[in-house]
């Protein structure tokens, strides 16, 4: 069997914003195979959003190349295909909803693709059902909860049937309950075959991914199994990331034997969280 070419491939990509001395991305090389779930972790300002925007040609690299499904984002003729292949969900749902009702917004991308009205109707219904918006298709966005808004955005992206879904801190503005719900939806999409790139600085989200890439100051400082990353304290310090609670707790428990025992549960929790 021939191995599939990667669906995303970056080769020594460098990117700097105009009038900013330091580079936002510096020599980033990575590959994502079709069907993978990759979490990209990094502290604030490490270049996550910049990276996300390179994946569908919203930004073009200063040096190096970004290939999506084998096609270079520099070539304007590829841009349509690339944007149909890679769908994006950003952080703030409020500024990603274009149309004045939920249904119209889910349809926005499909209308841009020039699909016939019947097909748009079908896909809007389908996406509405899948993301729990079936009864809200005529609702105006300003009456939606944060979770419903972000699900609308996700539905609008997924309705276009992209092969890759890039999510840039999509859950960071949601309450814990909607966040869980949203993550479950993303996981389902992955299990149904969509490639997922999930950028976040929430380590509890990142730790659940089978593969993680850590960014620090525009460079890839780790690429592999999250278990490996979190067992190397030096790496974590370098990326300025706080390990997930479970990691801190298990470390604490491992070292607890050498200390006098905690007498109350509260004391134990207090020590573990320190």
């Amino acid at each position: 069997m021939m191995s599939q070419p990667p669906i995303i491939s970056l080769k020594s990509v460098t990117f700097g914003y105009p009038d900013v001395r330091s580079l936002a991305l510096d020599g980033v090389s990575l590959e994502v195979a079709a069907g993978e779930f990759v979490a990209v972790a990094g502290a604030n300002g490490s270049g996550k959003s910049t990276l996300a925007r390179l994946f569908n040609g919203l930004l073009l690299p200063g040096a190096g190349n970004v290939l999506i499904d084998g096609k270079n984002t520099r070539d304007r003729e590829n841009l349509n295909h690339i944007r149909e292949t890679v769908a994006m969900v950003f952080q703030n749902p409020e500024s990603q909803i274009v149309a004045a009702t939920v249904g119209d917004d889910i349809a926005f991308g499909l209308e841009n693709l020039g699909l016939p009205a019947e097909q748009i109707g079908l896909r809007v219904q389908e996406a509405g059902c899948r993301f729990g918006l079936a009864g809200l298709l005529d609702r105006e966005p300003h009456w939606l909860s944060g979770g419903q808004k972000q699900r609308t955005v996700l539905a609008g992206a997924v309705a276009m049937e992209p092969r890759v879904l890039v999510l840039d801190e999509p859950a960071s503005m949601l309450d814990p309950c909607s966040r869980k719900e949203f993550m479950a939806l993303v996981r389902d999409l992955w299990q149904d075959g969509t490639t997922v790139v999930y950028l976040s600085h929430d380590m509890d989200e990142v730790a659940r991914a089978p593969r993680m890439i850590a960014l620090s100051e525009g460079k890839v400082s780790f690429d592999g199994d999250p278990h490996d990353f979190f067992s190397r304290e030096g790496l974590m310090a370098e990326t300025n990331l706080r390990p997930p609670l479970a990691v801190r707790l298990s470390r604490f428990l491992a070292s607890a034997g050498s200390k006098p025992p905690a007498l109350t549960l509260a004391e134990l929790v207090k020590r573990a969280c320190a």
């Binding site: 925007r53 569908n56 919203l58 349509n80 944007r83 149909e84 769908a87 994006m88 950003f90 703030n92 409020e94 500024s95 990603q96 909803i97 274009v98 149309a99 004045a100 009702t101 249904g103 119209d104 349809a107 926005f108 991308g109 499909l110 209308e111 841009n112 693709l113 020039g114 699909l115 016939p116 009205a117 748009i120 109707g121 809007v124 105006e140 966005p141 300003h142 955005v153 609008g156 992206a157 276009m160």
Partner: protein, 269 residues
């Protein structure tokens, strides 16, 4: 009053003939109705057209309270129109209010112009009461689409209307929130002279502008990511097809306007 109650469009949900008629047809009808108002040339014509409008409102079951609420903002303008004309024209004296004489031609002209203005405003209100704002902007977009051939950026204009419709309520809610936050810190927008009030408004407007610019940037990226590339080759989820309801509506509207104009021009009243 809350700013979010000011939200544009004041759709009154329903399932009447007027509600179900094609929005493109309704927009056209309003334009023709307004033209009719100017052609009618007499009270008799205006009264017939007013009757048509009232029938339409009754048929759509719009409660008078809603009508009153939407006409109230222009009440001062109507009164001003009437008073201005009242004292501009002469003719026989009809009576006196204290020492001020009321002339027949003035009352007539004032009444005529005020009624015409009221009907003009009402026609627009009826349209917005019986058509959801989304359907309206959609219809405007579709009516403008043929202009794209004349290099008018029709799709872009339609998109602008949609985005305005999408974001104005959000911005108003945001403004409301900011005003309440400022009020909680002791700032008041309700008191003081105009200069003072304008100055008090600044802390509301500045965050709002910043918010909307930030939104604009992200919105553009979200649109680009979803393959927005101008109007070319774009289709629409909302399909409009004319049906029997529309034929009935068009017929009734034509009867009202044509009747009003014909009678207005011939009756001499």
């Amino acid at each position: 009053m809350h700013l979010d109650e000011l939200i544009i469009g004041q759709y009154f949900p329903g399932n009447s003939l007027l509600h179900r008629a094609d929005p493109r047809l309704k927009i056209t009808a309003v334009f023709i109705y307004v033209a009719g108002l100017f052609l009618a040339g007499g009270f008799a014509g205006l009264l017939i057209m007013a009757a048509g409008l009232l029938l339409a409102l009754a048929q759509a079951r719009v409660p008078p309270r809603w009508l009153y609420r939407s006409v109230r903002p222009v009440a001062a303008l109507l009164l001003l129109t009437f008073l201005f004309q009242l004292f501009l024209h002469g003719g026989p004296v009809l009576g006196r209010i204290g020492p001020v004489p009321i002339y027949r031609d003035g009352a007539r002209e004032g009444g005529y112009l005020a009624l015409r203005l009221l009907l003009l405003v009402l026609a627009g209100i009826v349209l917005s009461l019986t058509t959801p704002p989304v359907a309206l902007t959609d219809a405007f977009g579709k009516m403008m689409a043929p202009l794209a051939k004349l290099k008018v950026p029709a799709y872009e204009l339609a998109l602008m209307m949609t985005i305005a419709l999408r974001f104005i309520p959000t911005l108003l809610m945001e403004a409301d929130r900011i005003i309440k936050a400022q009020a909680a810190r002791g700032a008041s927008l309700a008191s003081g002279g105009p200069a003072r009030r304008a100055r008090a408004l600044l802390p509301v407007l500045i965050p709002l502008f910043i918010l909307s610019f930030k939104d604009a940037d992200e919105l553009a990226m979200a649109m680009e990511s979803r393959c927005w590339r101008g109007g070319k080759g774009r289709t629409s989820r909302r399909r409009l097809r004319l049906g029997p309801v529309d034929a009935m509506f068009a017929l009734l509207a034509a009867v009202v306007v044509a009747g009003g104009v014909a009678i207005g021009r011939t009756s001499g009243f």
